[in-house]
């Protein structure tokens, strides 16, 4: 029982840490690069294109990043779930 709740506790902490990291990136690319810092970033161009960088983050870059974030979360969490189940079965 003790081990069981330890494992659950650990699983939950790792989940929260992963969520925190991904949401930090989520906020940085959209609210940060796309809005708050956009006027400053606009002095640069997205390499290889003619997009002002802030404008690109607001209309393209943030959306691409969001898609990647969800797939990363899904991939990491599904693996974490496997580890958790394996740990449970071993006891």
């Amino acid at each position: 029982m003790g081990n069981d709740s330890d494992a659950t506790e650990k699983y939950w902490r790792r989940n929260l840490r992963l969520i925190a990291v991904l949401l930090a990136i989520w906020a940085t690319v959209s609210l940060g690069f796309g809005i708050a810092l956009a006027p400053w970033l606009d002095q640069f161009k997205l390499p290889g294109t003619e997009f002002p960088l802030g404008f690109w983050f607001a209309q393209q870059g943030s959306i691409f990043t969001f898609v990647i974030l969800i797939f990363v979360y899904s991939w990491r969490m599904n693996r974490l779930d496997d580890d958790f189940s394996a740990g449970q079965d071993g006891q």
Binding site: T8, W26, A38, T49, E50, Q59, F66, F84
Partner: protein, 586 residues
């Protein structure tokens, strides 16, 4: 073949497809009717979610909104996609683990309270009806523009189709028609976009095209558009209006609102497992992103095309599409300076802004208006919807592409309408009847009740589509504000704060709701003349106020929780259960 013939053919064929799917996937139990028996594979659910989410507004209006607002339109792009990250990381997997049928179900059981359930039911029904009125209207509008059918008959045809597959198949029927509708709508959106990108930017990928410099040109498309804008007195296309706090608040409210919309959340109950729910959120956003990253490209192409085609041209030398869309009231021109040439400048050309046409033609052959011309130099009224609707014609694409846009617009409107109507129907049959008024209902009776309420909801939606309340646009701000200030925080705290109790959650929801609703009602309905940035609290508009409402919700919930009793042990165990991963079968 003519455009009308092509349109009838494509629309007819797509409707036939939806009906065949509906007949093949009839629901036989409440489990199938509410959540498609939880058999939907993640990829299919991703497509269904994308179709569920992308409405007539996303398909027809969004590119136009961005086209006319430039950088400021980004809030919709980021808000309506960023919400899926919140949904995928914070809500969907846990709600799937909970596994019950509706959002009010979760709120009611997590906060062990019928009052909480009732508040959630009312919000869900209100949000869904607000939204669905616009969808039905969209169906009618597409019919009237492309097939010259009266808007009323258009709405009735749309109702009949939704009625068949929603009442018969419930969630099961809706899911598989939505998969087909996604394919139709994305194909219909991408084909003209790719054609135009090839023509304007010499690349088949619009996302790259609008940031490039076309062969033989000196300036990039965006730099040229910025230049045109400055020349004509508009703000630069790639530059915002500068109210950063308001942009942040709007974006966040749209994100949290998206994550809290019941018809989107409910889609994640239909997959077989928590793992599938996570994956399917990724697919959903990928499928949405295809359209959402293309729309800003279409916006730039269409905007440049429009200015190049009409600015300082005489009425006679402008191509035919101009007069065709003038005939359908989407374009109007008033020759203020009497030189026979169209001047397109910043500001409203007309007062009131929407044109009302008179019989008869002016000197150049333009339709006459009863509006008063405004004192600025702008002579042109262009409805924003034209950017998608007329794009194929402006670019001179073949007739079948124009017809495709009609079929795509209908697919977008019908798929969203069906998802919303299902929320209304389950809220009534499951949350109100089974869980509250008539707990003794058998599964068969509940299924019958679900079908009847779905049928009734379709009829009410149709009525709202034929007689739209004059404030549809305002009401959509409502839907997002309320979802952000009520559902999102309540569900989030329900999952991540084990000790959040009934008293805290209910008072938080009520404060969030009442604050947000009062702010919107005050500025939109009671004192629209005060709706300017000087009067807004913290410079935040009604579109962004949901963010503030959400903060109040969290604060009040936390304070009330601290001096009221802890939730009962079985609720705490339920939360632990939701957080623990499921064992993999086999």
């Amino acid at each position: 073949m003519t455009v009308t013939a092509w349109t009838s053919l494509l629309v007819g064929a797509s409707f036939l497809l939806y009906i065949v799917i509906a007949i093949r996937s009839r629901a036989t139990s409440t489990g199938e009717f509410y959540i498609a028996g939880q058999h939907v594979p993640p990829l299919a659910n991703g497509m269904a979610t994308a179709a569920d989410w992308m409405s007539a507004a996303s398909f027809i209006s969004m590119a136009g909104i961005i086209s006319f607002s430039g950088y400021d339109g980004s809030v919709y792009l980021m808000g309506w996609t960023g919400g899926y990250v919140l949904l995928a990381l914070l809500l969907a997997p846990y709600l799937r683990k909970f596994g019950k049928y509706t959002v009010p179900d979760f709120i009611g059981e997590r906060y062990y309270s019928q009052t909480a359930r009732l508040v959630a039911v009312i919000c869900a029904i209100f949000i869904s009806f607000t939204y669905v009125a616009g969808q039905m209207r969209g169906v009618g509008v597409v019919f009237s523009r492309f097939l010259e059918v009266d808007v009323t008959y258009g709405v009735i045809i749309g109702m009949a189709i939704v009625f068949i597959y929603a009442v018969l198949g419930g969630m099961k029927g809706i899911t598989y028609t939505q998969v087909a509708q996604y394919c139709v709508l994305i194909f219909a959106f991408m084909v003209p976009a790719i054609f135009i990108s090839l023509m304007v930017a010499d690349t088949a990928i619009p996302q790259i095209g609008f940031g490039s410099t076309p062969d033989g040109e000196e300036m990039s498309l965006l730099a040229r558009l910025d230049g045109l804008h400055e020349q004509l007195g508009f703000t630069k296309y790639t530059l915002g209006s500068g109210n950063t706090i308001n942009l942040l608040a709007i974006t966040f409210a749209l994100m949290a609102g998206t994550a809290g919309l019941p018809h989107v959340i409910i889609r994640f109950y239909t997959v077989p497992s928590v793992r599938a729910a996570r994956k399917s959120a990724g697919w959903a956003l990928l499928f949405i992103a295809i359209l959402y990253t293309t729309a800003p490209a279409v916006a730039v192409f269409a905007r440049t095309n429009l200015i190049d085609t009409v600015e300082n041209k005489s009425y006679a030398e402008i191509p035919d599409w101009f007069r065709k869309w003038e005939d359908t009231d989407l374009i109007a021109w008033v020759d203020k300076d009497g030189d026979g040439r169209v001047k397109y400048r910043a500001g409203n050309a007309l007062d009131p802004a929407k044109p009302s046409f008179l019989e008869g033609r002016g000197v150049s052959g333009e339709r006459l208006l009863s509006n008063t011309p405004t004192s600025n130099a702008n002579e042109l009224y262009v409805d924003r919807d034209i950017m998608v609707l007329a794009n194929p014609e402006i670019a001179g694409l073949p007739n079948w592409v124009i017809a495709l846009v009609a079929a795509g617009g209908l697919a977008a409107a019908l798929s969203t309408a069906a998802g919303l109507l299902l929320v209304v129907s389950t809220s009534i049959s499951h949350d109100l009847l089974r869980k509250w008024l008539r707990p003794d209902l058998s599964d068969r009776e509940e299924l019958l009740a679900a079908r009847i309420s779905a049928g009734a909801a379709v009829c009410i939606a149709g009525y709202l589509g034929i007689n739209p309340p004059g404030y549809v646009a305002e009401v959509v701000a409502f839907a997002f504000g309320l979802a952000a200030a009520s559902f999102f925080p309540a569900i989030l705290m329900g999952i991540f704060m084990k000790r959040m109790n009934r008293e805290g959650a209910i008072s938080g929801m009520l404060v969030g709701l009442i604050f947000t609703a009062s702010y919107i009602i005050y500025f939109r309905f009671l004192h629209p003349e005060l709706d300017t940035v000087e009067n807004w609290w913290w410079g935040i508009s009604t579109k962004g106020i949901g963010t503030v409402g959400m903060c109040f919700n969290f604060m009040i919930a936390g304070i009330v929780r601290s001096f009221t009793p802890d939730p009962p042990e079985d609720v705490v165990r339920m939360v632990e259960e939701i957080r623990t991963p499921e064992r993999r079968a086999g």
